[in-house]
Symmetry: C2
DNA sequence: TCTGTGAGGTTAATCGTTTAAAAGATTATA
DNA sequence: TATAATCTTTTAAACGATTAACCTCACAGA
């Protein structure tokens, strides 16, 4: 049995389709009797408006395209969760497109062409679905200016940065790192070492900046031998920690720039027979699931993922109703999750 | 500048919109010159068909609604990833709706009403978006028969079961558990204990069945004191393991029914000063991220999540073109991930 | 009695496609 | 030469909503 249409309702109620539409949308004052009759007819035939027809007529789909690099990436799922919640509360639907780009993204510059293709395809697909706007959730900064060229659809970046002229919402690298240092300082640590990520990556640079800043403010310095670079992976945390502990004057606290390296660090510390947090403190970044199951549970900084998603959704909705507004850059602070590793 | 329409193309090429449509869809043989002219016009005005109009006319949206309990649930993201990939390869779009139901689901029977409401809302929302079909991704079995009542939209369950008359795709609880036992047996273990999940949950029951079966086939038995029930959480793994180790004749291998409890178990074993896997072996279930970062890395069973997603997508597409086919129940085997804990 | 006003409803165009059916043009057949 | 057959293209009616503009009627005021 085909879905009931507005016509069916109109006929049953003995009115025109215009009247039915007005009842549904409250777009005109109607007599109580008519309204009543139409409402009854609606529930009698179990009528639901056909969104497709509505969209065609109104030139709006009330649909936002959510383009993600890979939903399997941990922060991505949490961000999408936030987006989805806010969007549906605001009456928007989410059309989801996954680029499946989770392979290790670094050092694959030869493949950048393929990435661009995949991304372009995704955008085209969403645009051809007549989405009212697009949210792009990427784990690493990508310069997507080339994408914007043919883009008359509002776009906001969530998590990663766009260019200067884009609207994006991300988390604070610099301030969060500084906060963590201040936290360590407040616990009495002064000899703090850091295991950074890839030397040239944006988060590494920013966080290092924040760290130096916080140290300076405390009239302390971060000696060069206390800065070691890893590759964001478990093993590198292990190696760099060993190097750190063999220093003539080893640190009393280690700040690893993600939880994976922190886990490696923790394992290295323990195989050297040291106690955490008695002999040395260790903190991470990201608050992945693993952080709470390490022994001891890891103190780390939590990304404001739900907030990033929610804000991104809010911004895209704004941009739809107000297409010529200025781009807005929103940077959300992270929070420190205290556990037992310091 | 508004998007170019078929009319624009037609005018530019000096033909009717019907001709343009035929060129695009290859639905009629046309002279090469006309085709050429239309094609040129299309790229000149940068035309993309308006999907909304197309959907209205065709009565099909080429859109599948993906209803998830909560995308933050680990297996959920991986399943959605599989769904999305298969769907978009087949030319379908994914409209995503998250129910945000991640709060601990157990023992909340009072809240079941709210769940039903949330789920119903979601289904209604998707139906009103005129999706061609719905995939429901739930982490726990829910009896959604009440949902099907007004459902003329094809539905497939992914991960969880539906009722007898539903199409679903899930993983094998019984066989995977049996496989794991056989694996342990092959490594020389005969005194195998199990830390189960909630006593009355479906996975617990099925896996226990598989375990008993495999033991019997090896002419071994699982003594009652070797079966302990946890609550799927870390702490319960710890407690149950302690109890197991205090037995007069402790097991040489422990099979925890998820990685979280296995992690707890591992911690308990180590605080008792035992070596893994030398003194005792431990295996888990789920292959969560945590499994590979435990010390030692945990041997566990991996859920076939991408396959579940892919198959679910395939089934829904089948059902769309063939609405009166029989329901199909597909159970996909899991695989054992060998690491260093046995 | 006539005009003006407002309330309550309707008419019909429109959004951008698809697709039967019709029409026109060209070639083949008798 | 007339007719049939074929090939190419067009006409126009959908699909199911929204909405500006119009219509009708009742009543108030002059």
């Amino acid at each position: 049995m085909p879905m009931a249409t507005m016509r069916d309702v109109a006929e049953l109620a003995g009115v025109s389709t215009a009247t039915v539409s007005h009842v549904i949308n409250g777009s005109k004052k109607l007599s109580p009797e008519t309204t009543e009759r139409v409402l009854r007819a609606i529930s009698q035939v179990n009528y639901t408006p056909n969104t497709v027809a509505k969209s065609l007529r109104m030139g709006q789909t009330f649909t936002i395209g959510v383009l993600v690099e890979d939903i399997r990436g941990l922060p991505v799922a949490a961000i999408v969760s936030g987006i989805s919640e806010t969007l549906s509360k605001a009456g928007y639907k989410t059309i989801f497109h996954d680029l499946h780009l989770l392979e290790k993204l670094y050092n694959q510059y030869e493949q950048i062409g393929t990435y661009r293709e995949r991304i372009n395809e995704g955008v085209l697909l969403l645009k051809s679905s007549n989405v009212d706007g697009i949210i792009y959730v990427a784990m690493h900064d990508r310069h997507l200016d080339y994408l914007l060229d043919p883009m008359d659809t509002p776009l906001v970046y969530a998590y990663s940065h766009g260019t200067e002229n884009d609207t994006y919402v991300t988390y604070s690298n610099k301030d969060s790192a500084a906060d963590m240092i201040r936290y360590l300082l407040s616990k009495g640590h002064e000899r703090i070492a850091v295991i950074a990520g890839h030397p040239h990556s944006y988060p590494t640079g920013q966080r290092l900046l924040g760290i130096q800043m916080a140290m300076q403010q405390a009239a302390l310095t971060l000696p060069p031998e206390y800065i070691r670079y890893g590759d964001w992976e478990y093993e590198s945390g292990k190696t760099q920690t060993k190097a750190l502990l063999e220093l003539p004057s080893p640190p009393t606290a280690i700040f690893a720039m993600n939880d994976l390296m922190a886990a490696g660090s923790l394992s290295a510390i323990q195989t050297m027979g040291l106690q955490i947090p008695k002999d040395i403190a260790i903190v991470g970044f990201d608050n992945r699931e693993i952080a709470s199951y390490l022994q001891p549970p890891l103190t780390t900084v939590a990304l404001p993922t739900p907030a990033i998603g929610a804000k991104a959704a809010l911004h895209i909705i704004d941009m739809i109703s107000n297409p010529y507004a200025h781009p807005v850059r929103e940077i959300i602070p992270c929070s420190i999750i205290e556990r037992d590793s310091v």
